[in-house]
């Protein structure tokens, strides 16, 4: 599904079968079986075969099947793609995407298959081209941000507070949203710092991101918590949607909630929150 919920994209090294076998147990929204950075060049072939068997045999539960292939300009990229195309993959992550052409090259190789694409932006050039990448093909469903490579590319130091990333993060959100797709923030790499993770995830959400990259299953729960609508948000969204319906029934052009005017985008956001809440089973069942 193109706009399914993608609060978490969990990286799983393509050469780690003991983690793969528990994908359904962890319950991430999306997994990325990683053939790129997590796998050293001599192990690429073995990992590719393992990932293929994982896709075919492991129970993914509700988790979306994603694979990060190597860039197509490396000796591994096309082989990875051949394997992926013969599997039941749902989403391909394209690392180091810098232009619409990168996406179009991938699309021409995919052909007509309905496989979603998520470009990972991790260079200055990629950030500047965020919108054209996001709108390069209807199969692009989400832009991801990769901060480690990005800071190296711009020659900045990666800091805890992340001021050096602010503009890039915003640019990626703008590019994605202008194209009507999702945006997913970079990973948080200290797996022992849950408070830091929650703080950074809240910040990403406040910028407009829909999800975040994870490097350990223990990060799933806090990230899902931040990106899931709260009961208050759901309550408010319900009222907005009710008001919208009432306005439509009465043929009113203006939607009002109490004495406050409701704009169209607010109404759209409310609908989106209710849809997510429903998908996550957060709507309380009304007996009457």
């Amino acid at each position: 599904m193109k706009d399914r919920i993608r609060r978490s994209r969990l990286y799983i090294p393509g050469n780690n079968p003991s983690i793969m076998q528990n994908i359904a147990v962890f319950g991430a929204d999306t997994v990325i079986l990683d053939l790129e950075d997590a796998v050293a060049p001599p192990e690429k072939d073995a990992a590719r075969i393992l990932v293929k068997y994982c896709l075919e045999n492991v129970d993914f539960g509700r988790t979306e099947r994603g694979v990060r292939i190597n860039p197509l300009n490396t000796p591994f990229g096309k082989k990875d793609l051949d394997m992926v195309l013969s599997s039941n993959v749902e989403l391909i992550f394209l690392p180091k995407t810098e232009s619409a052409e990168d996406v179009k090259e991938l699309c021409s190789l995919i052909g007509d298959r309905e496989i979603w694409i998520s470009p990972i932006i991790e260079t200055a050039k990629g950030v500047l081209n965020a919108y054209e990448i996001a709108s390069a093909d209807p199969r692009v469903v989400m832009l991801c941000f990769g901060a480690e490579d990005f800071t190296r590319d711009i020659g900045a130091e990666r800091t805890r507070e992340g001021k050096e990333l602010f503009w890039a993060r915003s640019m990626i959100v703008m590019g994605a949203k202008a194209a009507g797709i999702q945006a997913s923030d970079t990973v948080f790499s200290d797996i022992n710092d849950m408070d830091g993770l929650i703080q950074e995830t809240r910040f990403a959400k406040s910028l407009g991101f829909d999800g975040k990259g994870l490097i350990h299953p223990s990060q799933i729960e806090p990230v899902h918590m931040v990106f899931s609508p709260t009961q208050e948000e759901i309550e408010y969204a319900r009222k907005v949607v009710d008001a919208l319906r009432e306005a439509e029934e009465k043929g009113l052009g203006v939607i009002a909630l109490g004495r406050k005017m409701i704009d169209r985008p607010v109404a759209e956001r409310a609908k989106r929150i209710l849809k997510i809440a429903e998908e996550l089973g957060l709507l309380e069942v009304n007996d009457d």
Binding site: I19, N22, V25, F26, S218
Partner: protein
């Protein structure tokens, strides 16, 4: 051979003792009375301090075939068992029946004494190399495994007579008042030895820290002690109390702990005033942490925790989220400090914690116990003693006792280890009967014992992966396949006693 309540064939007799087949967790009613020998009149400042272990063995009159007991509070850092047994061997004494509360890998030298005929039988838990020697048929008699509570009961009932108890202490005075709470080799509570001190014919305290009379606090009282021996060292402090006990970082194990705690919360158990038992295992530590998080979030307090105490639980005590810690054994430095200094951290004996033939034990007042297993089967029977290859490698610990006592007994285990399924059609060895097990929690799903209709009812509509145990089993079989059964010999090398003194299963020899 007679079939018992869990369908296992039990011989009529081992080592000259008539066996009673297991009848049900609370169905065996004992008769008889508790007796012990009255010591001779005690006199003014009797000299109890002896030169060395050899003199103690001589004065206690230890002969061929004697029953000798030890505690396992020093765990894998223990020097005392090996020191005493080596001296017994040097003196040419043989056919000893060893009655420890547990043995560890550090006790590997006992294997040689078994082969030489110094030790004819072990009645007690065997972890590691001694268990392996037992499994492969090296021990002359049939060994007997009991739970911690079952061991106390057996002593009180006179089922086993202790000729001499050797009690290691990290501090003691010359009249035998002894403790584990302070001194360079401190280990915390000394509750495992209490019943031995009260019922053994002779009692020897061995310490590396002789203090002025009176040693205070003291668990073992001079009224029960015949002799005191000072040695250079009773153990390796690094291995007695490990510096840190850590919460598991394995995502599947964390998931299991999370499921377990969420389950308890959904059935309404985690509330102000509740109680639970925990240990030092990775999953139960994680569960403890998650329970702590809930207590803090709701600002409620547990009345008591029965440990296996670690720093994690001590923190909850300090912060006021647990009212009292009841401590049978502890695992880290923080717990040691707390036991010595915090009046709400209380040392308890095994009898108080686990004895079935008492008028109530702490286990019976627990709302929840988290326990492990090597295998679980479709009848909810649990094996903690043998591995799936049939090797006897673990003791029972307090497993049977906590399971029978607690309001909800949870087995928290990964569904498979090293490609072998933990859930089986029939366990290799029944340690704890399924009638005392309530919930199995694995990363693949949660199974509730059909006996617990209340829990099934309360979790209707839950989002947890709750399923019938058969369903969990077939889910697991799709991953692991069904393993081959181990090839076992005919000879019974050990029996597993239930906590009430009946016999629940036997362990057969493994062909090397």
């Amino acid at each position: 051979m007679i079939e018992n309540k869990v369908g296992r064939l039990i011989p009529e007799e081992v080592n000259g003792r008539k066996l009673i087949p297991f009848k049900g967790a609370f169905d065996h009613i004992p008769d008889g009375e508790i007796k012990r020998r009255i010591p001779p009149p005690a006199k003014q400042k009797e000299k109890k301090l002896l030169k060395n272990i050899r003199e103690a063995i001589e004065k206690c009159g230890i002969k061929d075939g004697a029953h000798i007991s030890f505690h396992h509070h020093l765990r894998d850092g223990d020097y005392v068992v090996n020191m005493v047994m080596e001296e017994i061997a040097n003196m040419g004494i043989k056919d000893i029946v060893l009655f420890p509360t547990a043995l560890f890998p550090v006790h590997q030298p006992l294997v040689e004494l078994i082969e030489k005929g110094v030790i004819r039988r072990i009645e007690g838990s065997m972890n590691g190399p001694v268990g392996y020697a037992c499994s492969t048929g090296k021990i002359k008699d049939t060994c007997v495994l009991r739970s911690h509570g079952g061991r106390v009961r057996a002593v009180k009932a006179g089922e086993i007579k202790i000729d001499c108890a050797f009690i290691a202490a990290s501090a003691a005075d010359q009249y035998g008042n002894a403790t584990g709470t302070f001194g360079k080799s401190r280990f915390g509570p000394l509750g495992f030895s209490l019943v031995d001190s009260e019922f053994a014919d002779k009692v020897v305290v061995i310490t590396d820290n002789l203090v002025d009379y009176p040693c205070h606090p003291s668990t073992i009282k001079s009224t029960y002690v015949d002799y005191v021996v000072e040695v250079d060292s009773i153990g390796d402090p690094e291995k007695i109390v490990s510096g840190t006990t850590r919460i598991t970082r394995s995502p599947t194990r964390l998931q299991i702990a999370k499921y377990a705690v969420q389950f308890l919360d959904e059935v309404g158990v985690i509330r102000d005033g509740f109680s639970f038992q925990t240990g030092a295992g990775g999953i139960s530590l994680a569960a403890t942490k998650f329970i702590g998080d809930i207590l803090k979030e709701r600002n409620i307090r547990a009345d008591f925790v029965l440990g296996g105490v670690t720093g994690l639980i001590v923190d909850l005590l300090k912060e006021g989220y647990v009212k009292v810690l009841l401590d049978g054994q502890l695992f880290d430095e923080a717990a040691c400090d707390s036991l010595l200094n915090d009046p709400n951290h209380i040392e308890v004996s095994v009898e108080e914690s686990y004895d079935i033939h008492s008028k109530g034990c702490i286990a019976n007042y627990l709302d929840v116990a988290f326990l492990g297993a090597t295998e679980v089967d479709l009848d909810f029977n649990v094996n903690v003693n043998t591995h799936s290859d049939g090797l006897l490698l673990h003791g029972i610990g307090g497993h049977q006792d906590a399971a029978a006592g607690a309001g909800i007994t949870m087995i928290t285990i990964p569904s498979y280890r090293n490609r072998l399924p933990v859930l089986r059609e029939k366990v290799t060895t029944v340690t704890t009967p399924g009638e005392t097990i309530d919930v199995i929690v694995t990363e693949l799903g949660i199974a509730i014992n059909p006996r617990r209709e209340d829990l099934i009812e309360k979790t209707k509509g839950s989002k947890l992966p709750i399923m019938k145990i058969e369903e969990l089993y077939s889910k697991l079989m799709k991953i692991t396949g069904k393993p081959e059964e181990p090839e076992l010999g005919e000879r019974i090398i050990a029996i597993i006693d239930y906590r009430d003194g009946t016999t629940i299963d036997v362990v057969r020899e493994v062909r090397e």
